[in-house]
């Protein structure tokens, strides 16, 4: 009987098991509302949520520190594909069609972000063009690009400027994000899932400057998460 009582006491509640997904922004709207309401009325749950946010941030930091595979992995893969026997054309059409289907079935939130990114790319490019016209005499390196997840969108960026992984609040508007990028002299380097890799300014910063930047960023209403990244 005592053992059973102990087991029941250790069982997590329905709400607290959902906290990690709230931190990651992957809960559906109904569950997110339930969990947020519970957080507002339960200080112990809020304390646990703060711990989870810390775990969430460090897990991202840890994974980002793992680096990337060497070019050898890609060479090995494509050599293996080249060595494969010829395949029926319907096969490749099949994956193309299915992957196209995947993009067509993206959630409204993801599509909204894609649309936001498109708008941002246009705004950034407009900013770059304007800057080129006004400050053409200054030595600077600009790069413009159509929106591509694999291509950086940069404007007069130095190689050693600090970079930060940022997740914006789901209800952040494009205008708010653009204003934030402008006020921090930041540019989007990469966007993956709901995370953005931003580069700040065009010069290296001291440790104190980076700490101040991180604190300022974390206090922004539209910033849900900010993690220093390579």
């Amino acid at each position: 009987m005592m053992a059973m009582k102990k087991i029941l006491e250790q069982e997590p509640s329905e709400i607290e098991v959902l906290l990690p997904w709230l931190a990651a922004g992957t809960l559906n709207a109904r569950d997110a509302k339930r969990v947020e309401e519970a957080l507002a009325r339960d200080p112990a749950l809020a304390k646990q949520y703060a711990v989870i946010r810390e775990e969430y941030t460090e897990t991202i930091g840890l994974n980002e520190s793992l680096g990337a595979p060497s070019a050898h992995a890609m060479a090995k893969l494509f050599a293996a594909i080249d060595a494969e026997p010829a395949r029926a054309p319907s096969m490749s059409r099949n994956i193309s069609a299915r992957i196209s289907g995947f993009f067509a079935s993206l959630s409204p939130r993801t599509l909204a972000w894609s649309a936001s990114l498109g708008a941002l790319a246009l705004l950034l490019q407009a900013g770059v063009i304007g800057a080129v016209l006004v400050k053409s005499q200054q030595p600077a390196s600009f790069q413009t690009a159509s929106l591509s997840m694999d291509e950086p969108i940069t404007r007069s960026l130095g190689p050693e400027a600090p970079r930060v992984l940022v997740r914006f609040a789901p209800d952040a508007r494009v205008a708010d994000i653009t204003a934030l990028l402008d006020s921090y002299q930041a540019a989007i380097i990469e966007a993956r899932g709901g995370m953005f890799r931003l580069q700040f300014g065009a010069r290296a910063m001291s440790k104190d400057e980076i700490a101040a930047l991180m604190n300022r960023l974390k206090s922004e209403k539209i910033v849900n998460l900010a993690v220093a990244a390579p």
């Binding site: 990690p20 931190a23 304390k47 775990e55 840890l62 992995a73 992957i99 993956r192």
Partner: protein
Amino acid sequence: MQVLYGRHHVRVFRFGIRLVRDEQVAEDLISEVFLDVWRQAGKFEGRSAVSTWLLAITRFKALSALRRRKDVELDDEAANAIEDGSDDPEVTAQKKDTSQALRKCLGALSPEHREIVDLVYYHEKSVEEVAEIVGIPENTVKTRLFYARKKLAELLKAAGVERGWP
């Protein structure tokens, strides 16, 4: 295939390396995963995100690679990752740094716990997607992450970091 590879290979690599703890093995995994994708493209049913499909294949291949290694070797690695270095001033200083201690303890979790933490926090997978990748019921996904977090708290406590939960 190049677009698919360009878009997903880093995350596949990082998921793999966290499971197998070996850079070379993780690089080999990437080639195997994308080669499988090339061969089995017809089996992709389009009901889930491409990244979910890729992570499920990566997990399967990583577990196969792990099975080829000795369990004892893995246990030793996990133990070493959280070894108490109280006599070493450098380690003592590190313990004061919650962030570093947290990362060290994240690395010391069991493969089962590591994968669920990474899938939810880093790969941003929903309960349903994790269930699909790991092949367990959704309720088990929720409780497994809860107990992974509890284990993390225990490891941190053993390393001298108290966070007030549980």
